[in-house]
């Protein structure tokens, strides 16, 4: 029932003829249950409490500002002609992008049988859903009359006598993001049910048992149930994989289908998807590296996991860098003066500082991950991931603001200046995200116990097999 790892907690190097283990130490099935359940069962620590209070305070900032916005009107933002999209859309695209890593880890890595995903997928999926919640807030309030946002839905309206316009990418976006949110939620919840049953069965308190009992839907671990469950999981993974690629593709259509110079390019879909994965993994690392040491999960979220994620960041960072270069090449090669101006203006115009930040954070900083030392040193990973997060926010800022601020009509050109409400909402959205994430850490299983146990079983089986079983 136990498995000794000769080289201690370092499983970042592959030994010939043998897979590096993904669960470390003298671990048993019960140890996995214990280490995951105790995160939720022990009373919240000082650090968690402080974090939660700060997040709740920021969440209230967001809520208050949304009320202020609805009461006063969208003029409280810095959005002025011709930059009508401004920060709300920058924040929307930023958060949707972050929301891509979770489903990518759950679905695509599952389909590719990348078993190292098992101990990080739960938290990454939770992060996806919370990021999509943050993302959904911004277009909802950006429509101006937020209380009429339901007009986006195709319902037989007695007031309008008309239907939504289905040839608009903005409506595709509504369908894409809401489908993505729904399917991610189902996927996350379904993956959690067996672990919620574990929580239920460990509960001493009657009410706690009842609450987890309802959430676990009466899961018993029956083999017939497991068989259908695994089939459903594989199906959902197969559906979610193209879905995750479609969402940011459609978000990029919001820009690419328009005729604004700097937006109207066919490279946007792949470039946005790569950027989304890039930023999503950066956010997963930003959260998981501190969390694994605070929650004592180093044996389950190992250096090897971090190492693999850093490699994905490096790869997607290079794709993003290539896309930046390609945009410039096509602008030159296409010989459209407005397009050429848009790109020269992007890099050397009044927002040169944003462009410089974007390139140095997104293209240069991940290059450090070529060094194994950087991929396996937790503090370096966190620093670089935070740089990537900043860079990706600036990427969306650069795309939205530089293109809109100087398009075809020079007399309308303007310089965008955010207001305090813009700042407050950006910071407040982090409050929403971290409030949800901290609640998740405290109330729900942060690691997929059932799958991790299955990985351990396989690891044992292989070890026995090597021993002539």
């Amino acid at each position: 029932m136990s498995l000794a790892i000769p080289n201690g907690l370092d499983n970042s190097s592959e030994r010939p003829g043998e897979r590096a283990p993904l669960v470390l130490g003298e671990t048993t099935y019960h140890d996995i249950t214990e280490s995951v359940c105790k995160v939720a069962e022990r009373p919240p620590g000082w650090g968690w409490g402080m974090g939660f209070l700060t997040s709740i305070a920021l969440l209230h900032v967001l809520g208050g500002l949304i009320l202020y916005l609805i009461y006063t009107g969208v003029g409280v933002w810095g959005n002025r002609s011709p930059i009508f999209w401004g920060w709300p859309i920058v924040n929307f695209v930023f958060w949707v992008g972050i929301g891509h890593a979770g489903t990518l880890i759950s679905a695509i890595l599952f389909l590719f049988r990348q078993e190292w995903r098992t101990s990080i997928n739960r938290a990454a999926e939770a992060m996806t859903i919370f990021a999509v919640a943050c993302a959904g807030t911004f277009p909802g309030i950006h429509v101006g009359r937020a209380w009429l946002a339901f007009w986006l839905a195709p319902y037989p309206s007695l007031n309008l006598w008309m239907w939504p316009q289905f040839r608009s990418p903005l409506l595709w976006d509504v369908f894409a993001v809401s489908t993505y949110g729904t399917v991610s939620l189902l996927f996350w919840y379904m993956g959690m049910v067996p672990d919620l049953a574990t929580f239920r069965d460990r509960s001493k308190n009657k009410w706690r048992r009842m609450a987890y009992g309802i959430l676990a839907l009466g899961w018993s671990g029956s083999s017939r149930h497991w068989m259908r469950y695994e089939k459903a999981y594989a199906l959902l993974a197969a559906f979610a994989a193209p879905l995750v690629l479609s969402v940011h593709t459609i978000v990029s259509f919001d820009f690419a289908v328009s005729q604004v110079p700097g937006w109207h390019t066919t490279i946007f879909p792949p470039y946005f998807v790569a950027g989304a994965i890039f930023s999503g993994f950066a956010m997963v690392l930003t959260l998981m590296v501190p969390a694994r040491s605070m929650l004592d999960l180093e044996k389950l979220i190992t250096i090897r996991h971090l190492d693999n994620m850093c490699k994905i960041i490096l790869a997607t960072g290079c794709i993003v860098g290539l896309a930046y270069g390609t945009e410039f090449f096509i602008a030159w090669y296409g010989q459209v003066p407005a397009e050429q101006f848009a790109f020269i203006n992007r890099a050397a115009g009044p927002y040169w500082w944003a462009y410089l930040t974007m390139v140095s954070c997104n293209v240069i900083s991940p290059q450090l991950f070529w060094f194994k030392k950087c991929r396996t040193t937790p503090w370096m990973i966190v620093v670089i991931s935070i740089f990537v997060n900043i860079g990706m926010w600036f990427e969306r800022f650069v795309i939205v603001v530089t293109s809109l601020s100087r398009d075809y009509l020079p007399s309308a050109w303007a310089y965008f200046t955010p207001t305090w409400v813009d700042w407050g909402m950006l910071i407040g959205s982090f409050g929403l995200f971290f409030t949800l994430f901290l609640l998740f850490c405290k109330l729900l299983p942060v690691i997929n116990m059932a799958e991790t146990k299955a990985t351990l079983a396989k690891q044992e089986h292989m070890a026995h097999g090597a021993g002539g079983h």
């Binding site: 048993t28 009359r145 209380w147 040839r167 379904m190 069965d201 309802i214 671990g221 559906f239 146990k453």
Partner: protein
């Protein structure tokens, strides 16, 4: 409660490792039991074979979900945007499938996922909160680190002692009967009450909305955000205290030139030969420059007043006579310009001056018919005093631009070059009504003469016909009169 009264559902045995569970599974399968199940904390591979579990039909449910998602999305979009409420969007056909693909894709994924998710729970018979397996506290470890094997009492081969013995042989250390769950099935009262209150409360807003939809009220409706329903922005023609002139519509910023209206020649702008003017009346030339090139409103007003009010002071030679007008249209005259002039004349001038320029347009006819005391009849353009030798092109242009007598200036309505186009057209019109046959090129002379002869013949024919018809009518009338007289005669 005694053990004997409880229903026994079957027997379960606990195992501590995957391998021991799998070998026990194979043994009970080989022993012929079919109503069996295993309970494990994680999916154990190979157990479906070991227990003889058949594959699931779940993928088919997902397929049905996906296909219906595609069909619903396409039908919805085609019906909504292509049939029921047609949108014309950038010239695309009403049913433009490529644009409908993204939503169709998303709904396919959504409904296929619903199929897989809800189908899985339905096939598994979940949620099911009361399960006899849960009665044994030891079974709590089925979600932790223990593996349970279960044989149902309904199995044909079931026999309590035999099953216990079989399990004991497989090396299980814990074997127990699975008994009926006797915990109360009633939902605890507090939960029921909270749930009930929430359901009741959630209906209230819906009822309020529904009531409001079906009832009439004489009160104006409630405006949550009045500033969005009643915009504080000013409409055209409204007054405001914000500006000194109290007008909400703002005049053009000085120096504003409409697109395509940039004109740098003073001659073209005013119709005055500015070089000559500079020689004979330098101050006025200076004023013109200020008025037109430096947007000096005062200078402009003076200038307009001079050229419009001078008319009528017949005693002294007026400014209109002394101004060195441009003799000929200072822009290029071609067929296109004359056609443009014809079109503009038709729009702006003909209502008073008539399409033929004889001064008898519809407005004039109406004014005459009501004997309007203030009406000054529009000029007939076919008179000596308005021909180009006495009324130079520049002067005609100035009249159109600034107005004369009752006629307002048209500078605000007609574009600069179009005013010159009207001048060109008026000259053509004058010629058309007062030209000799010698002006026609010899090659077309015959055709014109023929057309004139034809027209004359036609007119004569029409006149003759009219005469004939008139004569017939008179004859008929006389005849009728005579008949009537004949009828009346006997009565007398």
């Amino acid at each position: 409660m005694s053990e004997t009264k409880k229903t026994v559902h079957g027997i379960m045995a606990e195992f501590t490792s995957v391998d021991s569970l799998l070998s026990a599974c194979r043994r009970i399968r080989d022993a012929g039991y079919t109503k069996t199940d295993a309970f494990t904390p994680f999916p154990v591979h190979g157990i479906d074979k070991a227990l003889g579990i058949k594959p699931t039909k779940l993928p088919w449910i997902a397929l049905v979900g996906g296909v219906s998602g595609t069909l619903i999305a396409l039908t919805m979009q085609i019906w909504m945007n292509g049939i029921d409420y047609k949108y014309i969007i950038s010239g695309k056909p009403y049913i433009s499938l490529p644009a409908f693909m993204p939503v169709a894709f998303e709904l396919t994924i959504l409904l296929a996922s619903f199929g897989a998710f809800f189908g899985m729970w339905a096939l598994n018979g979940l949620p099911r909160f009361s399960n006899p397996m849960f009665t044994d506290p030891r079974f709590d470890r089925a979600t932790d680190d223990r593996f349970f094997l279960y044989i149902d009492a309904r199995d044909a081969r079931y026999d309590s002692e035999g099953v216990r013995k079989l399990f004991a042989d497989t090396g299980s250390e814990y074997i127990n009967e699975v008994i009926e769950d006797d915990t109360p099935t009633k939902i605890p009262k507090p939960i029921f009450m909270v749930w009930g209150t929430m359901v009741a409360a959630s209906v209230i807003p819906l009822l309020v909305v529904l009531t409001m939809r079906v009832t009439n009220s004489s009160q104006p409706r409630f405006h949550v955000f009045p500033d969005m329903d009643f915009s504080p922005a000013k409409d055209a023609q409204m007054s405001t205290s914000l500006f000194v002139d109290n007008r909400s519509m703002r005049p053009d910023v000085p120096g504003t030139v409409a697109r395509g209206q940039m004109e740098e020649s003073l001659d073209v702008l005013t119709g005055i030969d500015s070089e000559k003017l500079a020689q004979i009346d330098a101050p006025r030339a200076d004023r013109l420059v200020r008025a037109y090139f430096f947007d000096d409103e005062v200078a402009k007003a003076e200038e307009v007043a001079e050229v419009t009010e001078a008319e009528g002071e017949a005693a002294a030679p007026s400014v209109m006579d002394t101004t060195p007008w441009v003799k000929e249209i200072p822009i290029k005259v071609d067929a296109a310009l004359i056609e443009k002039g014809q079109q503009q004349f038709g729009i702006y001038c003909s209502v008073c001056h008539g399409l033929n320029g004889r001064g008898n347009g519809l407005v004039n006819q109406r004014a005459q018919s009501i004997n309007s005391p203030t009406w000054v009849p529009p000029s007939n353009m076919h008179q000596d005093s308005l021909y180009s030798d006495k009324y130079p092109d520049g002067k005609l242009y100035s009249t159109i631009t600034n107005g004369i007598r009752k006629m307002p200036g048209y500078a605000g309505q007609i574009k600069l070059r179009d005013r010159w186009a009207i001048v060109a057209y008026v000259r053509a019109l004058q010629k058309s009504q007062n030209a000799s046959i010698d002006l026609v090129p010899p090659s077309q002379k015959a055709a014109v003469e023929k057309a004139v002869a034809d027209a004359k013949a036609e007119l004569e024919r029409q006149a003759a016909e009219a005469e004939k018809a008139e004569a017939e009518r008179k004859a008929k009338e006389e005849k009728e009169k005579a008949e009537a007289a004949a009828k009346d005669a006997p009565a007398e």
